[in-house]
């Protein structure tokens, strides 16, 4: 049957599927959804490099594979280095990399594997200027090992090694702005993205594909298991993170910042709307919430300023 025009217009994602069902991600997993989007954008001619993370498991135990694309599993801290080597080999063999018809080399790593243990290899990859895309799916803790804090875990969050308790032992450091470190390399293209905004994410993936040199995308990928949130709220949470400006969507392209969402014209939603759906924030006091709220707003003002000055 013919697809009616109004529907065609509305479905802006490719139908093509290179990520298969039967994988073993938890219910409502934002990481698996993100990987599905990546493969929709890039198709089969993609080499995906995955370090130790949830996606190691999601991609399937031997001899099964969830992906319909070539996948190389590697050690935790090596994503940036391995994609560098893959790209170098493609070039050595005269194979076109990146661009419309080139081979896509994609590093797909979690926040711990990127912002913590993999930071050095990430920096090397960007600084050397390899033609590859590094995507950090940010679920804000070491989820695969059972919810331990990473430098990307937000202030006030419960994790298994910031467990709350009598002494109120919670995460006391604010989320590391790893994308600022990435931008410090003056990378050609960097962006934040969210599972809740797939069209925006795919547009950014396509832009990363077209931009020569290294690209970096930080994808906000909710984790119901680690966030102690209902499994059906994953998309809602990803949306609220943007609407509260906790995780604003923006792009950095050739030295220019552009904010995509939320609107810079009006005030973002209060952070409580994002927090209240998640069990991981239940130990926060009123003061803790205020601390987080003022940090979020200060960071939001800073970003707006950057977009204003370098827009």
């Amino acid at each position: 049957m013919e697809v009616p025009d109004e529907i065609k217009k509305r479905l802006t994602l490719p139908f093509e599927e290179h990520f298969y069902a039967g994988h073993t991600a938890c219910q409502g997993c934002g990481a698996s959804l993100g990987l599905r989007y990546v493969l929709k954008a890039y198709g089969r001619k993609t080499i995906v490099v995955i370090p130790a993370c949830c996606s190691t498991i999601i991609a399937g135990a031997w001899p099964y594979s969830t992906l319909d694309a070539n996948l190389f599993h590697t050690a935790f801290e090596t994503t940036g280095a391995v994609i560098s080597g893959v790209e170098a080999a493609l070039k050595a063999r005269g194979i076109k990399v990146k661009g419309e018809d080139g081979v896509m080399v994609v590093g797909w790593a979690g926040d711990g594997g990127t912002a913590d243990i993999g930071l050095q290899a990430l920096s090397g990859f960007i600084e050397r200027g390899h033609d590859a895309v590094y995507i950090m799916y940010d679920n804000e803790a070491y989820m695969n090992t059972g919810i331990q804090r990473s430098s990307s875990t937000p202030y006030g969050a419960w994790t298994t090694n910031t467990p709350g308790g009598k002494r109120h032992f919670l995460e006391r450091r604010h989320k590391k702005k790893v994308i600022d470190i990435v931008i410090a390399h003056r990378i050609p293209y960097a962006a934040t993205a969210s599972d809740a905004y797939p069209e925006d994410f795919l547009r950014k993936l396509k832009k990363a594909q077209k931009t020569p040199g290294p690209s970096f995308i930080q994808l906000f990928a909710p984790c119901p298991t680690g966030w102690r949130s209902p499994t059906d709220k994953s998309i809602e949470l990803a949306r609220l993170a943007v609407q509260t400006a906790y995780f604003p969507l923006f792009e950095y392209e050739n030295g220019r910042y552009r904010i995509n969402m939320p609107s810079t014209k009006k005030d973002p939603k209060p952070i409580e709307e994002f927090l209240k759906l998640q069990g991981r924030f239940k130990y926060m006091t009123k003061e803790d919430v205020e601390t987080l709220q003022s940090w979020v707003l200060a960071e939001w003002e800073r970003l707006k300023k950057l977009a204003e000055v370098f827009g």
Binding site: L71, H73, S84
Partner: protein, 396 residues
């Protein structure tokens, strides 16, 4: 037989490694500077700069990333090469396992250097021998020529058995010492070492696949067995490739242990690498003086030449194992391996251990004579020092 005109050059061991990498037509080099390895990658960079080699050079930010990048490149079908030393090799350790587990025939030159602290940049085999269990083959070069030949053979062997290989040379004694090296014309190298045919290729999209996924207890065991078998099979491949090398280029490497004047020997010195050059010289001196001694140089430490060692052990009464390395809490590493290889066989020579030359301490012909007299005393059943002799120890 070899009717070719070699290209003779007076070069360092490091340059021999670089020339060999160039002649092997490596496609990707990812490396990080460390003394005394650095001049290998400097030379390779120079080849690229002069248009003498078509290599993608990845100037990585650590040795860990050097090995990781080589792994990515090798998995994408390229012939990959790197070089390192001591601390750098130790930093790579995790990825050494990865290279062998993913069955990637990467070749690396390790310049043997002592582990810190205290800081040392001098010769010591503990860095490479500590990587014994990583699934890498290990070739120990005695001189600069063997560095060059070793790299070419290592690629050929590695690509046949789908395991990585390490070519090991001594800090400064080889790495920075100039000697005549006979290099092989490119056309002949190409005939010996054709382009790589990879086991899998990440750039082949005809049928997507994944490498290195989770292996459950149901499967992991068999993957290890496959590597174990490949190592066993490598023994024959090494001998065949070594023999072929001899037939083509006149230098035979058909045996994994090189024997020097071991016929009718009462005992032999057993050791690895450049140390054995001095030992051979000492053997000549001792022979002239009427002592029946020989030298046995272990060329390939992994896979370990069990069979050849047994055959040698049957013909001698003693083996003096010279270890420029030490495994704390046990003994010299080659000593352990030697005894283990002979255990349960009908060869029962006296095997004694001499810990020599750690951290680049000079080990001379005179020292070897001292070892010889200790060894002979022990074989006669006389009063001797302990079984493991810290030869150079300044007492008091």
């Amino acid at each position: 037989m070899s009717g070719y005109e070699p290209i003779r050059k007076v070069i360092s061991g490091n340059y021999a490694a670089a020339y060999a990498a160039r002649d092997a037509r490596v496609q990707v080099v990812a490396a990080y500077p460390i003394t005394p390895q650095t001049s290998i990658i400097e030379k390779i960079a120079e080849f690229i700069a002069n248009g003498e080699a078509d290599i993608q050079y990845v100037p990585v930010e650590s040795e860990h990333s050097a090995m990781a990048a080589c792994i990515g490149a090798s998995a994408t079908g390229a012939r990959a090469f790197t070089a390192t030393s001591a601390q750098g090799l130790a930093l790579m350790h995790e990825m050494l396992h990865w290279a062998s587990g993913a069955r990637l025939p990467i070749v690396m030159v390790d310049v043997n250097r002592a582990m810190a602290p205290p800081w040392s940049v001098w010769d010591d085999q503990t860095d490479s021998l500590a990587q014994r269990d990583t699934g890498w083959m290990q070739f120990y070069a005695e001189n600069n020529q063997e560095v060059y030949d070793g790299v070419l053979m290592a690629f050929k062997v590695a690509e046949q058995v789908n395991l990585p290989a390490m070519v090991v040379e001594s800090a400064f004694i080889l790495s920075h010492t100039y000697d005549v090296v006979e290099m092989i014309p490119q056309k002949l190298v190409d005939e010996f070492l054709p382009p790589r045919e990879p086991l899998y290729d990440l750039a082949d999209f005809s049928r997507p696949f994944s490498v290195g996924a989770l292996g459950t207890p149901d499967d992991y065991y068999e993957f290890r067995y496959k590597i174990a078998r490949a190592m066993e099979d490598a023994v024959k491949v090494i001998r065949d490739v070594g023999k072929e090398f001899g037939e083509r280029f006149g230098r035979d490497y058909g045996s994994m242990i090189e024997l020097y004047r071991t016929e009718d020997a009462d005992f032999v010195f057993l050791g690895l690498g450049s140390l054995m050059g001095t030992v051979k010289q000492a053997v000549d001196v001792l022979r002239e003086e009427g002592y029946r001694v020989g030298a046995a140089k272990v060329r390939w430490f992994r896979p370990f030449p069990k069979r050849e060692l047994y055959e040698l052990a049957k013909t001698v009464d003693g083996i003096a194992v010279l270890d420029r390395n030490y495994s704390f809490g046990m003994e010299g590493i080659l000593f352990t391996e030697t005894k283990a290889a002979l255990y349960g066989t009908d060869a029962h020579p006296l095997v004694r251990n001499y810990i020599v030359g750690l951290g680049g301490r000079d080990f001379t012909v005179k020292d070897i004579r001292n070892v010889a007299s200790d060894m002979m005393k022990a074989m006669e059943g006389g009063e001797t020092s302990e079984e493991i002799l810290w030869y150079h120890l300044k007492r008091g």
